[in-house]
């Protein structure tokens, strides 16, 4: 173990040195966050201050007055008064902008007016005449010209001010109380947020995205360099000649890229805070006041939370990006593979801009989204600290899976010498696809995210629209249908893909038994975990289907017990488990499929319960060699949930989640699995013999 770590450390130090000696990477790591980002920010600030005008900006206003009731001198005076701001404390005055007010004796046509505004002869033209006994002011400006637009706003404010004075005078002249008539309701706005909170709110919308982007950008280049770049330079074979394992190589590489990401984002945050505080100080000095009163110190606690999050994000992004780039043979190819992934990550990072998205038990397990939301809420000072653990854990978990996948890839010669056996059938010409093949891992990696995305998008829509019928449609059309269409296209042997194998006639009955035991055990686990999350027992039991309990029992059974038992089993146990167990050890296949099954249910609580059920169902298939027993088991589990949800009392729920029942359930599951293994020992041999013969004949 010690030696293992020593080799990893040696590899890591080598990679770090290699990366640091590459000027391009160092530039990306240091120059961009330290120089480019602050520069962009300063330029943006300057542009925005230019848009709002400064004391040297002159707004040219031209007036043609044919009205006898309108006092243009008064307008000029009001405009000039508004251009000066008086400090309430010391009475000093500051010119914000200048007004150049001119009158003209000739009317200007609209066409002329347009041209003159464009040529910057003036910004606004006012045409004042009398209509129906009062002064009518027509103002002409161009919305597309910034200064014209700004001048227009000044004019409008001035006209409103003048109107107010006249209105007040008129009301008083009529002998009424101006204040009560003009302001019938005394309205006072009191902002309770502290300056820090306001600043945090503003920071919270953009900073998460900038942090994630800067990690992404700084991680991307070393990731390509250490994987595809290494292949392109031909040093990979040299590296693999060393007595090192794929895991050691991958760990060293990922640690290196993560370190780059962490360094860059910390530099980024530092440089941004320095720029921010300098700007704040500058404004304080300029205004001669306390300024906004935002102290950087108040963000220290937020930063303490953000730091570990940055660490896991850098780890996660490195691992995920490397999963893409390790298959590329050159920089160019790696860039092609990365583009869609980058787009996806960036879109998810925008999540902090959506106010209605909150960090909860659902979003805390969605990678990248959880990070962007967590950083936002930390900066907004309303972070629920119990959410930090699921965010960190889920990110680390995903990274570990990616590292396991990569280690596998780096131990395989396919990656190195590429004989293309792991490809995705969809990308091959149909005439080249061999008939009767099973699903490859490449196929599975392609199908799972696609189906999951489709199911989340359209399955959710169907459920909202058609309720129970929507579930059936979604499950059969998307979960079962899309892969089926793909397999028919790629001429797979459906019987093999879905493990539609014969099994001992008693096995379905054992499957039911396993289902009962599995339900009890999952209920116990759900109870324990829900206590940790502060939910009640019945929540844990019935969360899945609570919306649908009002329906008829038979209908509910068909829609939420029978349908998933068929469609979910076909997808998870048939397609995914079938594909993985071809290449990976059964332990890993079971674990990966069960985690995916848990993720599929999109809930922290259900992640654990369904994850455990996933393990049990996978083993049922593995030991029986057929999908039918696991279908029966799945049906039983969902059926009990339906019945329990509809009829069970609080007392019953409480009783059923007692440890004794859960442990008994686990015992039943283990016995059931042993029994099913025993029952199908001969059938399984037959199957393997069959496939063995086929291999020989092929």
């Amino acid at each position: 173990m010690n030696n293992n770590w020593k080799i990893t450390k040696t590899l890591f130090l080598k990679e770090i040195r290699d990366v640091l000696r590459d000027k391009k990477t160092v530039m990306m790591m240091v120059l961009i966050p330290v120089v480019v980002y602050p520069l962009i920010m300063l330029v943006l600030l300057m542009v925005s201050s230019m848009m709002y005008g400064n004391k040297d900006t002159v707004y040219d206003i031209v007036v043609y007055n044919e009205s006898s009731n309108f006092d243009t001198d008064n307008l000029e005076r009001v405009l000039n008064d508004n251009a000066i701001e008086t400090n309430e404390k010391d009475g000093s005055e500051e010119q914000l902008y200048k007004i150049n007010f001119e009158t003209t004796e000739e009317k200007i046509s609209e066409e002329d007016c347009k041209n003159k505004i464009k040529d910057k002869d003036f910004d606004v033209y006012l045409e004042i005449s009398d209509s129906e006994g009062k002064a009518g002011v027509k103002a002409f400006y161009m919305e597309s010209e910034n200064e014209s637009q700004m001048a227009m706003n000044r004019v409008k404010t001035a006209i409103d001010d003048i109107s107010d004075v006249i209105r007040e005078k008129n009301v008083e002249n009529a002998g009424l109380d101006a204040n009560s008539i003009l302001n019938p309701i005394a309205f006072e706005q009191n902002g309770l947020s502290s300056d820090e909170q306001i600043a945090g709110f503003l920071l919270g919308t953009i900073l998460p995205m900038i942090i994630i982007l800067s990690i992404l950008l700084s991680v991307m280049y070393p990731c390509i360099d250490l994987t595809a770049g290494e292949k392109e330079r031909g040093t990979l074979e040299t590296l693999l000649m060393l007595p090192v394992s794929g895991k050691q190589i991958v760990t060293a590489k990922i640690l290196t890229t993560s370190l780059c990401g962490v360094v860059t984002s910390i530099l980024n945050i530092l440089s941004m805070s320095i720029v921010f505080s300098v700007i704040l100080e500058q404004q304080k000095a300029l205004l001669g006041t306390d300024g906004t009163g935002v102290g950087v110190s108040s963000f220290i606690s937020a930063m303490l939370v953000i730091l570990p999050v940055i660490l896991v994000t850098a780890l996660f992004l490195s691992a995920v990006i490397m999963c893409f780039t390790c298959f590329a043979k050159s920089y160019k190819e790696a860039n092609n593979y990365l583009s869609p992934a980058m787009m996806l990550i960036m879109i998810i990072a925008y999540g902090s801009m959506i106010p209605s998205l909150e960090l909860n038990q659902y979003t805390s397990v969605v990678p990248v989204l959880n990070v962007t939301l967590l950083i936002r809420e930390a900066l907004n000072f309303r972070l629920n600290y119990s959410m930090v653990i699921p965010v960190l854990c889920s990110m680390v978990l995903y990274s570990v899976f990616a590292i396991m996948f990569l280690s596998k890839a780096y131990s395989s010669e396919n990656l190195l010498f590429g004989d293309g056996k792991n490809g995705i059938s969809l990308f091959e010409k149909r005439s080249n696809i061999k008939k009767g093949m099973t699903v490859t891992i490449g196929d599975a990696c392609f199908i799972f995210p696609f189906v999951l995305l489709m199911y989340l998008l359209f399955g959710g829509l169907l459920q909202v629209k058609y309720e129970l019928a929507g579930i059936v449609l979604g499950q059969f059309l998307i979960l079962a249908g899309i892969p089926l269409a793909f397999f028919i296209y790629s001429k797979k042997d459906l019987k093999k893909v879905y493990s539609f194998n014969k099994c001992n006639p008693l096995s379905p009955a054992v499957g039911v038994l396993i289902g009962v035991g599995g339900f009890l055990f999952a209920a116990l686990v759900g109870n324990v975990i829900s206590n940790m999350f502060g939910l009640t027992v019945s929540d844990a039991l019935a969360k899945t289907f609570e919306k649908y309990f009002s329906h008829n029992v038979v209908l509910a059974t068909v829609c939420i017990a029978l349908t998933p038992a068929i469609a979910e089993e076909m997808f998870f146990r048939g397609v995914l488990f079938g594909a993985l167990k071809e290449k990976l050890k059964p332990v890993f296949s079971v674990m990966i499929v069960s985690v995916l099954f848990g993720v599929f249910h999109m809930d922290v609580l259900k992640f654990f319960t369904t994850g455990i059920l996933g393990v049990i169902l996978c083993l049922t298939l593995y030991y029986s060699g057929s999908i039918f027993p696991s279908m029966f088991a799945h049906f039983t589990i969902n059926f009990i949930s339906v019945i329990a949800g509809k009829y069970a009392t609080e007392h019953f729920s409480e009783m059923i989640t007692r440890p004794i029942f859960g442990i008994a359930g686990l015992a039943v599951v283990i016995l059931g699995l042993m029994l099913i293994k025993y029952l199908n020992r001969e059938v399984k041999e037959e199957i393997s013999e069959e496939s063995g013969e086929e291999k020989k004949s092929a």
């Binding site: 030696n3 020593k6 040696t10 000696r21 040093t235 000649m241 060393l242 007595p243 010409k429 080249n432």
Partner: protein, 256 residues
Amino acid sequence: MIKANNLVKKFTKTVQKNKKIEFNAVDGISFEAGKGEIVGVLGPNGAGKTTLLRMLAGLMMPTEGEVFVETDSGVIRKGENLKRHIGYMSANTKLYGRFSAREILKFYGQVYGMTEADIDRRTEEIIDVLDMEKFADNRIDKLSTGQVQRTSISRCLIHDPEIYIFDEPTLGLDILSSSAIVDFMKAEKEKGKTVIYSTHYMEEAEYMCDRIVMICDGKVVCNDSPDNLKKETGSQNLREVFRKLIENKMESAANE
């Protein structure tokens, strides 16, 4: 001593109209190379030399058959331990361009688990033997082809392996550089090391090798000393032997 037992490696390759077929790049090769022996692996392009050497080096897993190394401490069959006894070099084992020769030797020594003192001693030895003093501290990027090749060889030497496997080590080198490498292999042989190497230069192989293994289409055509081969085929030199044996083999394959 390194032994290969009935090695088979299956690949899929693309033939006309994008059709893919499976074929055996190495088709049942067995041979062994003992202590103090230089074995030359010869064959036309695409015969399976590189695949064979990669399997011997433990870089590729054979589809069938096995490779094992017999050392004083016992038989080693596969995995990372096998790699510890082998120094492998080919056109595809390039070096990190941003490192110097000394740094590379140090890195490799560390991964092989050598002590710092051992690494330093061995590094100086190798630099002396291969005459690398002039460029040992320059980045690989800046070196000439011959210098890079010598650095590559030094990389295989650092852990003092019993077996060297070189895939065309003298390819593209001038006479001085290639003779330095040839001399080095001879010297290692004298020390009782095993050298297996492939080349297209027949004169070099004739001068160097104790035994020649010729392969064609993944199969062994002959396995004997250069002198015996010349006698058997009635040829003047190895170049003629090669042409006679390989042409025969290819003709008979074409007739089938």
